[in-house]
């Protein structure tokens, strides 16, 4: 064993010197190199969030194009081919490039801060994850520009997406984009699981973990169990298309419904992957602005866990008209209904919190109130479509389109926007505007309901989804026109939001450490946090540390300042075990992502890309893990 080198401990330094020493150790290099090599979870998360919001804007523009086309019967704004690409792009983009990444990214930003550690576990994997995500998004959008975008819907049912009917490379682009985003999501899930289980501040036992962190932990487990299904599905689709396997070919012993089972075994949990982080944000916001801890902490945690487990027992409710045995379908009706119980428990607990609390009506809370109003509608229509006979009438109609926009936008985007207003000061050091925030909220809330509520009626009136036009003799014209006009109100709201965010990031009022007087640890450091998050690791002995001890934060000393040190603690009780080193910045994750992207994109065209492409990937990975002579690597 090596001799222990002389080292500097934080206890030996006065606060300013300590800050300077830590800043030197944890800093990300300047310039292009720093951009490509950064591994600071805050930098990566910020990139992730901004990129995802760009995708939201792009997906929103696609939605507007669809609404333009649908405003009138037999309109000729878009050709059927373009329309099919656009709705596929809209759904794929919103689900895989916006909703899942943005929520995970907020987890990447907040989880390490909330559990009181200095960086996420496996920070290089985190950097890799972002680059892979970016490559996947670029692949999809470049294909769109080249008129090669997928046109088979966001769940790409075979045989339409199979070798015989999905000609060209469109479906391959879709399938490979899935692989990109799933690799990125899996990487983040692993990081979050390990961060939460092993890097919590001393004393943060399981019953003191903030609800948002619990929700990210639950989400990450769902990601880990669900994503392999879609990776296998999309890979076998590519194999069917590229090398002639027969997974989905009924003529050779394959099966068309196998695709649907595989896709929805992932696809249903996917919607809870979007929903669970959002409820975590709701809990955080409710707690701060109701001025009391969330009522029923244990019940909330159990609800999160129950939802994640039940999420795997519902997938067949997307296949109620595929002709599966009736007994099986009844089971899936029952299981789908039962997931309303944990959802209800959470709603009831938030209501109780607000009831007993003293609500402060700032923009974040407004979005949460909007969330409760709309999400309950979406949840209730979910319960309706969970009934087999009900669903046989409204499946694949605008009723379902209404359901899922209510739960996706009402249930996830509203909390997300509330969360942005809430955490913006922490992330940027500046407050967003309260006035513009209220405008954004009301425009979005009203615009949203006017846009999507009538879709329920369109569905009941028999309008199927995914039609590029409808005939003048159908009674859908008026409502469609109304919906299209209302969507402009919605977009105006989003524009106000974007303007506010961009403006405030430059000139907003500067934010204090804890501008909302919130209880959790991310507010115990400066806004924005320094590269090392906390000058000294916090010690926790309650659920709401900043409320329990408002005057003073308890911390631990004894960590080295000349290497990137953080505390690894036990899973259940968070007893400190090790002063672990956290990896430095490295360019290799970037190269690994480049190599992986080349291999994956190449494999759209030839299977040999996998063989030759794996060589650079292996080289990059070896470079990544090869030990360097840095203080982090000693012993």
């Amino acid at each position: 064993m090596n001799e222990a080198k002389p080292d500097t401990r934080d206890s030996e330094l006065a606060p300013p010197a300590l800050a300077a020493a830590l800043a030197e150790t944890w800093r990300t290099p300047a310039g292009l190199w720093g951009v490509l090599a950064a591994v600071d979870h805050k930098i990566i998360a910020r990139r992730y969030i901004i990129t995802a919001f760009v995708f939201l804007a792009l997906g929103g523009v696609l939605a507007l194009l669809m609404r333009l086309q649908l405003a009138q019967p037999e309109a000729r704004v878009l050709s059927p081919d373009r329309y099919n690409q656009i709705f596929t792009m809209h759904g794929t983009n919103m689900m895989f490039l916006f909703a899942v990444p943005v929520l995970e990214a907020i987890g990447v930003y907040l989880v390490p801060l909330m559990v009181g550690t200095r960086n996420i576990a496996f920070p290089r994997l985190n950097a890799f994850s972002y680059w892979i995500f970016l490559a996947g998004g670029a692949l999809l959008w470049i294909a769109f520009v080249l008129d090669m975008a997928p046109d088979v819907g966001w769940f790409a049912y075979v045989p339409l997406s199979g070798p015989q009917y999905g000609t060209g490379k469109r479906a391959d682009v879709w399938a490979q984009m899935i692989t990109f985003t799933e690799i990125a999501a899996l990487a983040v899930a692993v990081e979050i699981v390990v961060t939460v289980l092993k890097q919590r501040a001393p004393g943060m036992s399981l019953d003191r973990i903030p609800l948002f962190v619990w929700s990210m932990l639950a989400t990450s487990f769902v990601v880990i169990m669900a994503m392999p299904a879609v990776i296998f599905a999309s890979t076998s689709l590519i194999l069917d298309r590229l090398v002639g396997t027969h997974f989905f070919n009924p003529a050779e012993g394959g099966d068309v419904l196998l695709w649907q089972h595989l896709f929805w075994f992932f696809g249903h949990p996917e919607v809870y992957i979007i929903f669970l982080p959002a409820v975590g944000m709701v809990s955080a916001i409710v707690e701060t602005f109701a001025r009391r801890p969330v009522f029923g902490y244990l019940a909330m945690v159990m609800a999160l866990i129950a939802t994640s487990i039940l999420a795997f027992g519902l997938w067949v409710h997307h296949m109620f008209v595929a002709g599966l045995p009736r007994l099986g379908q009844s089971f899936f009706t029952a299981s789908s209904m039962s997931i309303a119980i944990p959802a209800g428990v959470q709603v009831f607990c938030w209501l109780a919190t607000l009831w007993d609390g003293a609500p402060v009506f700032r923009t974040p809370l407004l979005f949460v109130i909007g969330f409760i109003v709309t999400f309950v509608i979406g949840g209730l229509t979910g319960v309706m479509v969970a009934s087999v006979p009900f669903d046989t009438q409204v499946h694949d109609t605008y009723f379902v389109v209404a359901h899922f926009h209510y739960v996706l936008i009402g249930g996830a985007v509203f909390p997300l926007l509330g969360g942005i207003y809430y955490w913006f000061p922490k992330i940027t050091g500046r407050m967003m505007s309260e006035t513009l925030g209220k405008w954004a909220f009301w425009l979005i809330f009203v615009g949203f309901n006017l846009t999507f509520f009538p879709m329920h009626i369109l569905g009941i009136a028999g309008m199927p989804r995914r039609i590029y036009t409808y005939q003048p003799d159908m009674p859908w014209y008026g409502l469609n026109m109304f919906v299209s006009i209302s969507s402009l109100v919605l977009v105006a709201g989003f524009l106000v939001f974007f303007v506010d965010a961009i403006r405030s990031a430059r000139v907003g009022a500067s934010a204090a450490e804890n501008p909302w007087d919130a209880p959790t640890l991310e507010w115990a450091t400066t806004s924005p946090p320094p590269s090392y998050n906390f000058a000294q690791i916090p010690v926790v002995n309650g659920l709401s540390p900043l409320w329990d001890q408002p005057a003073c934060l308890m911390v631990a000393s004894g960590l080295r300042t000349d290497r990137r040190e953080l505390i690894v603690s036990t899973v259940a009780t968070a007893k400190p075990q090790v002063r672990e080193a956290s990896p430095r910045d490295s360019i290799w994750p970037f190269w690994a992502a480049v190599a992986t992207s080349v291999m994956l994109i190449g494999s759209i065209f030839t299977p040999w890309a996998v063989v030759w492409g794996s060589v650079p990937v292996a080289v990059a990975l070896i470079g990544w893990f090869w030990p360097k002579a840095t203080p982090e690597d000693e012993l």
């Binding site: 206890s11 001393p202 005057a551 934060l553 308890m554 911390v555 000393s557 004894g558 075990q577």
Partner: protein
């Protein structure tokens, strides 16, 4: 924010083994992902089998020899694999070096035999769905064999450099051994699926 120091961690070790190390947990998480993947592909195998009137579809049963040979080698390799993990725990550099060389060999041999397994399936991936799924099962496991072999080779090389003799490397050796166990254990249900289910 004002702070008050309530604990001192100067004496904590700077590296932890097994459950005290984040890499160990990371490896575990990746194993969970891959186990979910394997379980799923096996489920697809059973699903397709259920649909088919006869199984295997239009193909003779796979030959037992190469697959069984791989199974035996993998099972045997578990013994040195277990030992190397113990040596690493004791930070016995000399034995670990010998063990890593041995494990590199024990990783290469099954891969060589694997090359004969594919023809022994007696069906092509593009013959029918049965062919597709057995090739997928075997291919997926082979990918794991290759990954772990590359990891073992690199780590073996590393152990012969100056950088080898650190707790961190010994921890890596242990994690690598754990992963190899995973590769061995997941092979058993796949072996059963490919070779024995058609014989039931």
């Amino acid at each position: 924010m004002k702070t008050r120091v309530v604990a001192d961690f100067s004496d904590l070790p700077i590296h932890g083994f097994r459950s005290a190390s984040v890499t160990w947990w990371g490896t575990l998480a990746f194993m969970l992902i891959e186990a979910a993947g394997f379980a799923l592909v096996i489920a697809v195998y059973l699903y397709l089998m259920n649909l088919a009137a006869i199984w295997p579809i239009d193909a003779p049963k796979p030959n037992l020899l190469p697959g069984t040979l791989v199974t035996v080698i993998l099972l045997v390799s578990a013994i040195p694999n277990y030992l190397i993990s113990r040596w690493a725990e004791r930070e016995d550099l000399r034995k670990v070096r010998v063990g890593m060389v041995l494990m590199s060999v024990l990783g290469t041999v099954p891969l060589a035999v694997r090359a004969f397994e594919f023809p022994a399936l007696n069906v092509n991936w593009d013959t029918n769905a049965y062919g597709s799924i057995v090739w997928a099962l075997l291919g997926l496991h082979t990918a794991h064999l290759i990954t772990d072999l590359v990891d073992t080779l690199v780590l073996a090389a590393l152990m012969f450099t100056r950088k080898g003799n650190t707790s961190r490397r010994f921890g890596d050796v242990q994690d690598n051994a754990m992963y190899w166990n995973f590769v061995v254990v997941t092979w058993l249900p796949i072996y059963g699926c490919i070779y024995w289910i058609p014989r039931l």
